[in-house]
Subunit: 328 residues, 2 copies
């Protein structure tokens, strides 16, 4: 006997409408509700026929996830968040990697359209806006992390100005009065926006100028040499990335400075392998990448349902406090 | 006028059969041939109708890629290699993340089957064999990185014994005579196999016992303290991971030992953010993860075509030589 959606709903203790939403990924539900429905469907062996349903409804219940970021440091958590929000139900996720190649991107988008995806999520490794995407036919698109330069497009990004402000406000709350900022290349919007916000948040406590360089531990170490020469009374360093902050901590220790007693240090990204391995572990800004992915998926479901949310939505990051500012 | 496959083939300078293979992902072609066909298809605007073709051929031209590894350090390069081999043509890749949860895995597999995938690739974060997978209906499955405990299954893995042997043989070639081995938990097969092979390769030059601990920089630093106390004449340390090796290099430097002049150090994984940021950069074993993914995709295409390759296929890793053994 074929298991019906009402059986699943009864076992999960929800209405059939909620069970359907959870399994179709067509509504925003609480994670534990969705989880309960999925487990009930699994326990009963509920199997919808994806292809058959796609043909009858005119929908494929499939979404394309297109990334330019082969390495995956930023896009992987975003993909997982989106996949979690979409695929918990019956929305399947087609993964495409463009490797930063516009020809490959066009090729993937054409194939996704040929497969009649219900929508597309586009992400990348940079926060600078990307050129508008040319879809072969109109299909809902949501940009995440890397926004679209088209103001009418739907984009979800992390609020970098807010992240840098959080870190520097924390340093000021600790009573620091000579706060330096060390970051990546000035031409990267992520470096420029964080720096501008850090300077504003530090106010009279800013120990300038902003030190632009590259996104590496090596640059963090070099910057400490410069800083200790030109600004020996620096008592805090806010960094544009965890890699830079890790290099800063190493160089401070090797120069005989204690972190955080003499100099407090903040990172940016909350990249666990860097932030936790640093000596000491880093206070840092968490970009909430999985949350970005979940939000993008939600916006895509809204757009598919005919309720797009054009413009740029910025999600607030979160400050994670560890020993590099808090002592032990 | 509809563009035909023969037009694409003519522009790419290949036979229609080769163009079809490249676009369908049904044969193993040279990367540049496939690339040429894709660019020709793109230039002409060639668009196959995925769903229509799926229904007429009884195939969906879709493959499921199921990972237990949310973090993505190991699975991401594997996914990219597989995606590259499959999706360059018309094989679409459905991404599923099980988060190490058997219920979620069953749920995803059931959905993939409902969508009539042509096959499934399963990967994970551990090299220990996993329990056989129970597919709801017979669909070709290839395991990669994490092999199946079922000897009749198709598994593609990195040859860990060979990797550890390569690293230690390199240290012996450099004339090192007191070679220690520092690695992760003994219960992990990756640690146990690498250790066994390192000991065998070092022969009389082995400075035992194997130091088992965890996969962290902190353990690498602690192990150096132990080693310098019990075996002060150690002149090489082969490590079970890049994170351990990075900690080893830091602790050696802080103990006044020069790397590689006094003690040569090798890592394992060639994880760029660790291996390159280490002071000095690490000589290490590259697992060739993208190649594993490409091979798994090829084996899956073979299995779909009715030519499965049961058993475990081990791919040889590659030694990457940098300053931690080679000086500068």
């Amino acid at each position: 006997m074929r298991v019906r959606i009402v059986d699943v709903a009864a076992l999960a203790g929800v209405t059939p409408g909620t069970a359907s939403k959870a399994l179709n990924g067509t509504g925003q539900l609480r994670a534990d509700t969705r989880e309960r429905v999925i487990r009930a469907a699994e326990q009963l062996g509920f199997t919808p026929d994806g292809i058959g349903r796609g043909l009858s409804s005119g929908r494929s219940y499939t979404v394309g996830l297109v990334t330019t970021d082969s390495f995956g440091r930023f896009s992987m958590p975003i993909l997982l968040g989106a996949e979690d929000a979409l695929a918990a139900g019956q929305m399947a996720v087609l993964l495409c990697d463009t490797r930063d190649d516009p020809v490959r991107e066009k090729h993937h988008l054409r194939n996704l359209v040929a497969r009649r995806v219900d929508g597309v999520i586009l992400t990348g490794r940079r926060t600078d806006p990307r050129p508008p995407v040319a879809m072969p036919v109109p299909v809902p698109v949501v940009h995440v992390f890397t926004p679209s330069a088209d103001p009418a497009a739907v984009s979800v990004i992390a609020d970098d100005a807010d992240g840098a402000r959080l870190a520097v406000a924390h340093l000021r709350d600790l009573g620091r009065r000579r706060i330096a900022h060390v970051t990546g290349p000035q031409r990267h919007q992520s470096a420029a926006i964080r720096a501008q916000s850090a300077v504003a948040a530090a106010g009279p406590a800013f120990a300038g100028p902003v030190r632009y360089g590259d996104w590496s531990e090596r640059w963090g170490r070099q910057a400490v040499t410069l800083l200790l020469r030109h600004c020996p009374d620096v008592d805090a360093i806010s960094c544009g990335s965890d890699q830079i902050a890790r290099g800063v901590c190493d160089a401070l220790r090797e120069a005989g400075k204690r972190v955080p007693e003499d100099v407090a240090v903040t990172g940016y990204d909350n990249w666990d392998v860097m932030a936790l391995a640093s000596r000491p572990p880093l206070t840092t800004v968490d970009l909430q990448l999985e949350e970005l992915g979940r939000c993008a998926a939600g916006f895509l479901l809204d757009a598919i349902a005919g309720r797009p949310r054009p413009g740029v939505t910025s999600l607030a990051p979160r400050l994670v406090i560890r020993e590099s500012t808090a002592g032990d």
